[in-house]
Amino acid sequence: MGRYVVRRLLQFIPTVLGTLFLLHYLTSMAIQFGGNPVRSLFGDRTPPEEQLRQMTEQFGLGDPCLQQKGNPCFGLFWERMQDIFLRFDFGQSLAPRRDVTDVLADALPYTIKLTIIAFIVEAVLGLAAGVLAGLRNGKFSDYVVRIVTVLMISVPIFVSAVLVQKFVGVKFGNWLRQDLDAPEWLGRGLFGAAYKAEFPWLSLILPGIVLGMLTLASTARLTRGSLLENLRADYVRTAKAKGLTTNRVIGVHTLRNSLIPVVTTLGLSIGGYMAGAVVTEGVFRVPGVGFTILKAIATGEPMVLIGLTTVLVLVYLVLNLFVDLLYAVLDPRIRYE
């Protein structure tokens, strides 16, 4: 087990370096083809040559390779990796000029809150719907779950986020706020059209539901399928033959086995939320990691982009490893050597 963990941790290195190099190359090309982003800090004024050169150097963008179109800038990449992983220096953002670590520290709590809400929505509703559909296979409630989940899976998140915002946040919210004179927390918090700093949890519930919806549907379907498969298993028949109550046959002998694959997807979806909240955070204007990344792309902030993505990649990889180890705990047949 220990050796397996070490080997997996070593495998992180090429994955992280590969991802970051890709990102580094893309942002470098943006500079090579689009021009020095530091110049934009001066607006329509033309900065003195000497001052511009100095500032560009300060932001770590002074390397001459950034003026050669297509140059992969290996030297710069190597320097950046040393800065990040040896000196924990993630660089600075351009405007406002701040340490990227501070930018991250500001954004992360929102994304974590959003992830928690989305995960609860996914785990509770997804499992409940899946178990219900599995146990009532072929009945009305099974069809309802199957049809609703297909709809949820087929609507992309940028559509569902905008639709929910428009119809729940704006139309329903306006009706609450104006016609019903609903209390602040309800009208502006829970059913607000965007994130409000006064309601740090309440106003994240709607975006959290939107974010959790997609994985909720696949979790429900996976749970249903896995449960149906295990209900037919020989050992469930044995459990019945042992004269156990139906609750125990299903609750202990069937569910324990059915939930092994579900736990895997649940674990991986946390990583997905952390990274994939870009759209949801963008639509609902939640100042989290995704929204910050979106802004960094729009304004061309290479260091913010690289810094935040590094953290996301690491979170995703660690969660992935954690899920794999959890798998071995849940299923004794699996042993990592």
């Binding site: 037919r232 298993a233 020989d234 050992y235 028949r237 044995t238 459990a239 019945k240 033959a241 042992k242 004269g243 156990l244 109550t245 125990r248 002998h253 324990r256 086995n257 092994i260 849940l330 299923d331 004794p332 047949r333």
Partner: protein, 348 residues
């Protein structure tokens, strides 16, 4: 449910209305059908037999003849739907269990009638230790604590000759060999001292040498405890040493009943005879194996008349036209569902 009295804690629940002098198990005119999209498959069409304490009844037949379905119907673990019991009675000590509540049927399972399944690897739960799965029976049926249950689990593993039971009780099923797994399965079925044990092809998944060990273990335990044993198999070799009586099944009907010796010496039904002839024989080496030509009937379209008639070399027009032959008494203890049993036996 926690046991309510001292007696119940030790001996399990008592089923009201049972008569200790009645036969241990009597199945009468049992009918089971499977309602599927392809149609209604009549899996069991009027099967009757009796088992008493200390007696071994073998139910012999090829795949799909309804032997396992019979066992599942007796245990009450038939998957409904698609399986439905459409007629007949299953009497445990004189009580028709089909008329009893679900709760009472659950109490009968494992306490009174227990079952050993064919493939022990898939029949044991892969994510729980063997000890947990054994102790569970004592905890849930006898209200024992975890530690007491585990002690009993170790005793049971000892009983079925598993070496180092104290350590192995914490192992998972996949850590056992095939034969050992089947021993665990047997231990599990014997946990609550059932009066009747149904063994559904207990040796099919095992090596020949291990088969003999398992059969001997089953036979010894049955003798010690004076249990009734229903042995379901398609292997005529397995049956010969252990069984007292044999019921041969074909297409959901019992076609011949006889003591084990008589079946081998003088079969009274063409199907039994053909089965015996198709056993490979060492003294006929190098010759073509005898096979029974054709296939068993599709259970959704069982022909009128005797269902074996299309494959039968004794068949005449009467077999195909008339309703299926009843079990004709041949001798005391022997009966055959064939109009021409005399010709089959060569008794003219």
């Amino acid at each position: 449910m926690a046991p309510t009295t001292e007696v119940q804690a030790r001996f399990g629940p008592s089923i009201p209305g049972t008569d200790p002098s009645a036969p241990l198990l009597a199945v009468e005119e049992l009918r089971v059908e499977f309602r599927t999209r392809a149609g209604i498959a009549k899996a069991i069409n009027g099967v009757s037999f009796e088992v008493n304490s200390g007696e071994t009844l073998a139910i012999l037949g090829e795949s799909g003849c309804g032997k396992s379905v019979t066992a599942q119907a007796i245990m009450g673990i038939l998957d409904t739907p698609p399986g439905f019991i459409t007629g007949g009675q299953i009497k445990y000590r004189g009580v028709d269990v089909l008329k009893r509540s679900k709760e009472e049927r659950r109490q009968i399972r494992a306490n009174k009638i227990a079952m050993v399944f064919q493939d022990a690897l898939s029949s044991l739960n892969p994510v729980f230790t063997v000890g947990f799965q054994l102790a569970e029976l004592f905890r849930k049926h006898r209200g024992m604590t975890r530690s007491d249950g585990k002690k009993r689990a170790i005793e049971l593993l000892d009983l079925v000759n598993i070496p180092a039971a104290r350590q192995r009780v914490n192992d998972f099923p996949h850590q056992f060999s095939g034969g050992m797994r089947q021993r665990v399965m047997i231990a599990m079925s014997l946990a609550l001292d059932p009066e009747l044990l149904i063994a559904d092809e207990p040796t099919t998944a095992l090596d020949v040498t291990v088969q003999a060990q398992i059969m001997n273990l089953l036979a010894d335990l049955q003798r010690e405890r004076n249990m009734g044993l229903i042995l379901i198999t398609h292997d005529m070799g397995v049956v010969a040493d252990v069984a007292d009586r044999i019921n041969v099944m074909y297409a959901g009907r019992i076609v011949e009943k006889a003591p084990v010796f008589d079946i081998y010496a003088k079969p009274s039904h063409p199907y039994t005879k053909a089965l015996l002839e198709s056993i490979p024989r060492v003294d006929l080496k190098g010759q073509q194996l005898n096979v029974i030509k054709g296939l068993p009937p599709n259970l959704t379209q069982i022909p009128v008349g005797c269902s074996f008639s299309p494959r039968c070399r004794y068949a005449q027009d009467v077999c195909k036209a008339d309703p299926p032959p009843p079990l004709y008494p041949v001798q005391p203890g022997i009966s055959s569902a064939c109009h021409f049993w005399k010709e089959v036996r060569g008794d003219e």
